[in-house]
Amino acid sequence: MQHFNIITRRGFLDRSLKIGLGVALSTLTDIPFVMKRALAEGKIGLNGKKLLFIFLRFGNDGLNSLIPIEDPVYPLNRVKIQIPRSGAVNPYAATGVMDDPNLSAPGFPTYAFNAGNGFAALHPSLKYLAPVYNAGDLALIHRVGYPRQSRSHFDSQIYWENGNPNNNISKDGIFYRTLLESGLANTNPLTGVSIQSALPLLLRGSDAAMTNLSDPTRFRLLGLPNNAAGLSKATNSIVSANGFSSVDKLNRDLLNSQYKNLNIALNQFGDGSMFSETNNTFQDTVLGSGYYLFPTATAKNPNSVVDSGAYSFFKNLKAAALILNKTDAIIAGTELGGFDTHNDQIVHDDILGTVDPLSGGHANLQKRIGWAIYALQRYFLQHADKATWDNTVVVTLSEFGRTSAENGTFGTDHAEAGPMFVAGGGVKGYGKGRRTTGIFGCHTSDTYNGVSVPWIPGTTGKTGSMFGVSTSYLKRAVDYRSVLGEIIRDHLGATQSQLDRIIPAYSIAGQKLQSGGVTTNTTAEKTDGTTIAGELDIV
């Protein structure tokens, strides 16, 4: 059941060709970008494929999410905050499916559970990932980063979002460019939507306005007076003022496009009741009633699948899922903050001298990630309308991982590579094809595209892959642009030439984003000589 909108696309082609020709004839310069897009042959937005993103802000401690449990230096450098091993004999030797830590019982295991590749384990708070993984719908990718990694939150978030590492000047987002290539960004009412306090750079750009709903349940105007006549009088006036001409000022294009966007979104969502709490009744048909897919309040979280601080995130996540499912939006997403665990990422009692590495801020965040991915799988399986689970990819982003050695304050500082979570019915995870694992980049024999990028276990102290960057930080084996690039091309339907525009480094051989290998080490290309895997064939 796919909902194409060919007519809209044709309308766009007509119009943009006219605009394009007009400009081209009058200036005889380069063909305008708008026309290049219209002439492209990609299928973005026309093939029914959708993308849901979750940005894990401020640097997830990946070494305590997807844990290299069999790396001997993991417990040496994570003394107080290490996630304990299972007490079973050779607990991480079994390969194949991921351990299923008693899914149907509330609560979480007390040890890192086996991820099934003979080397890695998962934080116990991620237990709801197991059924998604074992269905083959989850890729867990470790050691993701980019060349010349910035350890600044703000710069690194910019680079993940604009798709141009070490370029602060590029002010438009990687998903924005993807949607612009669809040719639908200025004709479809909704193409890219975020649900969070502000429109993220991922979706920002100057040639089309993406939509951000800060609180979808209140997304309507009042009018003056606050009744039907007042609302239409006020709204009509505001809408017609959008057409007024004005002097050029720095932000007027932005304001104009976002005001138009406001009007479009108001028309799309009506009174916003689809987002309301009373309509949040989705429950899991597998685990049974009481397992609400979107725990937005204590009443919707009777089995404590997440902590109580998670409710606003799930309110936003629910809206993102609903928008993908009920509208023609192509990309939607939200963010989850709180990952900057410089101190107290676990619970400890200094007087008693005890630690509880399974509780605390980082563990709560892992619960949210685990349940979010599980709930999205269930939602799109149970309630598929415009978005099916097979046609949807869920991806997490986070600007960096954290220091391999813990600091003296039960926390970890800014570092380099970290994990990405990619889920969806079309994801090639464990058991799909002849895949024996859905874990990527976290094994001693990792080889992709003929390129060997093994995780090298340490021997003593600060050695091995965990200290691969100047004996301090986990070194990358995968570029985030290879992961996103593959999703944008092979899932969303961009052509390779479109992808080369969406992620400019794709067309630079020395970046090795597609085939992997030894990147060049040049300042101009902003590469650093590291060997990377290239694309992983996950979608």
């Binding site: 007076p225 009088k233 006020a234 001409s245 002097v247 932005l254 304001l255 104009n256 600091n407």
Partner: protein, 735 residues
């Protein structure tokens, strides 16, 4: 057969404009004569008071104003049957004082208010914008009377403990919402507007988070009130110190930086409080990184990762402690041993737990946590680093600290033990405060605040376009880069070095600030938006400047506090993009640039706020306390535009739709010029004449309505609606 002559001529400018980058004069771009209409279009001119079309049938004759056509936007339409003519378009710009007044009230203040506009520009004896700038640059010379304007200010002031008050047991102490309301009330009503702007800027620059302090004290206290009071007090105290520092004519950036470094709120916020460099402990890098990246040098501007690691060890030992009130300013004071008289539970076994101690929490140096790992080490920062050549002289040619080579800025200090270890931190901030990187980055941030957002971050990577942008060693700088450089020169040449006021003076004297370059080029933050909406309509209608005499006002709380009981309706600052004051979770502070704040969701919240505020209190949309109510502004944030009209417009003008609209346009958008607002003007006049949303819908024109400020009167409803409309538009998002 039409024989039409087209004469495209630059218009003549009637008044003098003090701008360097003079905008292009309007030129006629399109002339058409199709069917019954003859249409002239032209390019707009910024801050145009009016446009008019002149015509002449004979080139050798004089041109005269042609009033036979209709002007809308930048288009003039006349019937095609009128005589064949040559045409000119004429623009009358705002005067330089008018333009500067608008810029000044938008940037040095939280937006224009009717009373301020009269005081500076339109009243009987206006002081002029330059006098206003001079006055605002010396706030200590302004008698501040803001406490008279709202009773909440003194009420809340009494709840702030003095710096030496002991931790109390009772609950009548300022909460963070009290402090937020207090801060907002001053922003709304202070005469020292620039001081309030600067305080918000530096508070946001040296950002800390109330909630982080709250969490920290959770380990010591079971009493939420005690935690809240301590955490609030930290925020208040650092702001109070910055306020006092900024009142000093020679206040330097170092003074402000030192207050931040010593503030318990910062020591907790960026985790120095528990950071240790002893034994096997690795120091926490959080503060060292952000001190360089966000508070002084700017990201990747003159430092490396190893500088962060070395510096993080220097900050170990900077912590907080509960000490005797008389020792609050002594960082070596021991933990107090005095017990609270009444809070010790009967039968308590450990009467000396922290929660039973009487004292104040203050900055404290714990020498046993200071870096001794593995042995006591000397430290070297910026090893063999040189100021990049793009800075040029004097920065590349001067000698820094004890360096004996010009331009090298290596900072080293000996291993220090015991209480001497505190000196590491002071050596660092003393050094960082006036380095060229700091001068540059702080100047850039101030230019973004006062001029516009397009001042990129600097870079020392020659491949980065920003390198050339800020390459001061060549010539040919953009006006923006030149302004940054001028600010740095003012910084460098002030004595003591690094004074704030000469830098501000440089900006306020620049063509970029005084002209179109600084006019309406920025988008308001939620704080600026809400306060400017109130101020736009806020006049003390009897001139008394006393509580309850204002045509618009707020109690402060409505903007920040949840309305109603938990979960309740969140305050507007939260809903417009999580701008909960004193509680930013990311250390970069709230952004200045527009894209962060502008989206469909946040615009809907902004429009809802002004609509709710403009609805009469008690009417639907401005009443209720539930989570789902539409009382977005809150009952104590209100306006009565009719009261403003009654105070400002003569009786004969009050039912003249054009007069009412012109007054409001000039008050709300003084920098835009009525000429560029003519479509808004027409729409607003139509709005006043439209009775479709009256309590009893009617077709009565505005001129026939009875003037009334009664909530259900047609006059009141239409004026409120028209004002809400103006405040809902794109132009009001700008400053």
């Amino acid at each position: 057969m039409n024989r039409l002559f087209l004469f495209i001529a630059p218009a003549f400018v009637l008044s003098f404009l003090a701008v360097s980058a003079e905008p292009q004069l309007p030129s006629i771009t399109n002339f058409s004569s199709i069917g019954p209409q003859r249409i002239i279009k032209w390019t707009p001119y910024p801050a145009a008071k009016s446009y008019s079309i002149l015509s002449s049938s004979n080139l050798s004759g004089g041109f005269a104003t042609n009033s036979s056509g209709v002007l809308s936007g930048f288009v003039w339409t006349v019937t095609n049957s009128s005589p064949v003519n040559f045409y000119q378009v004429k623009v009358t710009p705002l005067t330089s004082d008018e333009l500067l007044t608008a810029n000044v009230l938008n940037r040095l203040a939280y937006g224009p208010s009717p009373d301020d506009l009269e005081r500076i520009l339109t009243g009987n004896s206006p002081i002029g914008p330059n006098a206003y700038i001079a006055e605002q640059l010396a706030p200590e010379t302004i008698a501040e009377t803001v406490t008279n304007s709202h009773t909440n200010i003194n009420l809340i002031s009494a709840r702030f403990a003095g710096p030496t008050n002991v931790i109390p047991e009772s609950t009548n102490y300022a909460s963070i919402d009290d402090f937020r309301a207090w801060h907002i009330l001053r922003a709304v009503g202070a005469k020292r507007q620039l001081l309030e702007i600067l305080l918000q800027f530096f508070e946001n620059h040296f950002v800390t988070q109330y909630t982080k302090s709250l969490d920290y004290f959770d380990q010591f206290y079971d009493n939420d009130n005690a935690e809240s009071r301590i955490a609030t007090q930290f925020e208040y105290l650092e702001n109070d110190k910055w306020r006092n520092a900024l009142l000093n004519p020679t206040c330097t950036f170092y003074d402000l930086l030192k207050i931040s470094a010593e503030s318990p709120a910062m020591i907790i916020y960026l985790d120095t409080v528990t950071s240790k460099g002893n034994g096997s402990n690795i120091a926490n890098e959080n503060y060292a990184r952000e001190l360089l990246e966000l508070f002084t040098f700017g990201v990747d501007n003159g430092y490396t990762q190893s500088d962060i690691v070395a510096m993080s060890r220097s900050w170990t030992g900077w912590t907080v402690q509960i000490v005797s009130p008389d020792k609050a300013t002594n960082p070596f004071a021991p933990r107090t041993t005095k017990l609270l008289a009444t809070s010790i539970a009967v039968g308590a076994t450990n009467t000396t737990t922290v929660s039973n101690l009487a004292g104040v929490w203050a900055f404290n140096f714990n020498s046993t946590a200071h870096d001794v790992s593995p042995t006591l080490r000397p430290k070297t920062l910026f090893a063999n680093a040189f100021v990049p050549s793009r800075f040029g002289a004097p920065y590349t040619t001067k000698f820094y600290g004890t360096n004996t080579v010009a331009g090298r800025y290596t900072l080293g200090f000996a291993a220090r033990s015991g209480t001497n270890g505190i000196q590491d931190g002071y050596d660092i901030i003393t050094n960082l405060a006036n380095m060229p990187f700091t001068q540059e980055y702080i100047s850039i941030k101030l230019c973004r605040l006062f001029v516009h957002d397009n001042f990129p971050n600097p870079s020392n990577d020659a491949n980065n376009p920003a390198y050339n942008f800020y390459d001061y060693s060549g010539g040919n700088l953009s006006p923006e880069a030149q302004l940054v450089r001028d600010c740095m020169s003012a910084w460098e040449s002030s004595s003591p070095m690094g004074q704030i006021r000469p830098v501000l003076q440089t900006i306020f004297s620049s063509d970029l600030f005084r002209s179109h370059g600084g006019s309406m080029q920025k988008v308001k933050t939620p704080l600026e938006f809400t306060i400017s909406a109130i101020r736009a309509l806020r006049s003390s209608t009897n001139g008394a400047f006393l509580p309850n005499t204002y045509s618009a006002d707020t109690d402060g709380y409505n903007l920040v506090r949840t309305i109603g009981s938990s979960p309740g309706l969140l305050g507007p600052l939260l809903r417009m993009g999580n701008m909960s004051l004193f509680d930013r979770d990311a250390p970069d502070g709230y952004p200045e640039d527009a894209p962060f704040w502008m989206s469909a969701g946040t615009l809907a919240e902004r429009i809802r706020f002004v609509q709710s505020m403009c609805i009469a209190v008690g009417q639907a949309g401005h009443t209720g306390t539930s989570e789902t109510s539409t009382n977005d502004a809150g009952n104590n944030t209100f306006c009565s535009p009719v009261n403003l009209i009654l105070a400002k417009l003569p009786a004969a003008s009050r039912t003249n739709a054009a007069a009412v609209v012109d007054y409001m346009l000039n008050t709300i958008y003084p920098g835009e010029g009525l000429g560029n607002l003519n479509q808004y003007r027409t729409a607003a006049i139509n709005f006043l004449n439209d009775g479709s949303a009256d309590a009893s819908p009617s077709v009565t024109p505005f001129a026939n309505l009875a003037v009334s400020s009664t909530a259900t009167a047609a006059y009141d409803i239409r004026v409120r609606g028209m004002v809400a409309y103006l405040l809902s538009l794109q132009r009001f998002q700008e400053q």
